[in-house]
Amino acid sequence: MHTLIKDALIDISQEQRPNGFFDLGFVINVGSISPGRDGRLEIEQTPEEDEIRALKRSQTSEEEDNMGAEFTRYPTPAKMQTILTHFTVDQMSRYESFRRSALHKSNMKKVLQSITGQKVSDTLNIVVCGIAKMFVGELVETARVEMGKKKDSGPIRPCHIRESYRRLKLQGKVPKRSVPRLFH
């Protein structure tokens, strides 16, 4: 998922790519999106990224103890700060949207209660909102990657989303219904 964001954003704003910090910013940025590592960070690193990663590894020994093996490559707040200062206005606004956007808890609660017919706890609500947001992220990122492969540009169209949804289904990231939905 990390390279997905990186590649997608590189495609979008090729012109705005400062020397190497763009890549840097977004690989680390991705670290805050999905701290779960699935080993795909190794692809396509610039020399600065290698350096940053080596620095992080040497400094994250205590973080490892605190947070467990999955968080070894999580950037420290100080590092995050330096990266943020290097963002362009565009990147900053996009990052801000990414961090601040969320699905309304009240709407999600309505949906969940109508599906389950039971009262839904606040914790559950928060968790489902988080899961849904990450799912949107996967959809959009996969769509952007697809567009990049076809050298398409501009706003994402429904056909791209359908394609990306199909891909996610093949990857097993979308829960399959045991009884297929026939008329809807």
Partner: protein
């Protein structure tokens, strides 16, 4: 078990246009504004196409529905629907799982902080 959202009076003013699921269930768009910001944050343009947003909303609602149905199947064995059912379904998807753990940890922290705040408030009022 009905699939239609509870709050869905068929108000034609807000029924979505082409490209989205049509006829029997007219869903009022639930998450449009937030979805626009979210899609921008994840890589779309500043103003995503309305058809795209509508489609993404449909897909997300369907995703949540399917996930919840599956969680219920697991949850009915023990009675109530719990967070752990969802975490079990997500277990293969590491980024989501870790994000959920993060959210739960933050919620715990906030609860503790609020409890501590309330205790301090009590002390202050009792002194008066």
């Amino acid at each position: 078990m009905s699939n239609t959202p509870a709050a869905a009076p068929t108000s034609s003013s807000k029924s979505k246009a082409a490209g989205s699921s049509q006829a029997p269930e007219k869903r009022k768009p639930l998450f449009q504004k937030e979805l626009q910001h979210m899609m921008y944050g994840f890589g779309d343009e500043q103003n995503p196409l309305p058809e795209t947003v509508a489609l993404v909303e449909d897909i997300v609602v369907e995703y949540v529905t399917d996930l919840t149905h599956k969680a219920q199947e697991i949850g009915t064995k023990r009675g109530r629907l719990l967070v752990d059912d969802f975490l079990y379904l997500i277990r293969k998807d590491l980024p989501k799982l870790n994000r959920c753990r993060e959210l739960l940890a933050m919620q715990e922290e906030l609860k503790q902080a609020r409890k501590a705040f309330d205790v301090d408030e009590e002390k202050i009022t009792s002194l008066d």
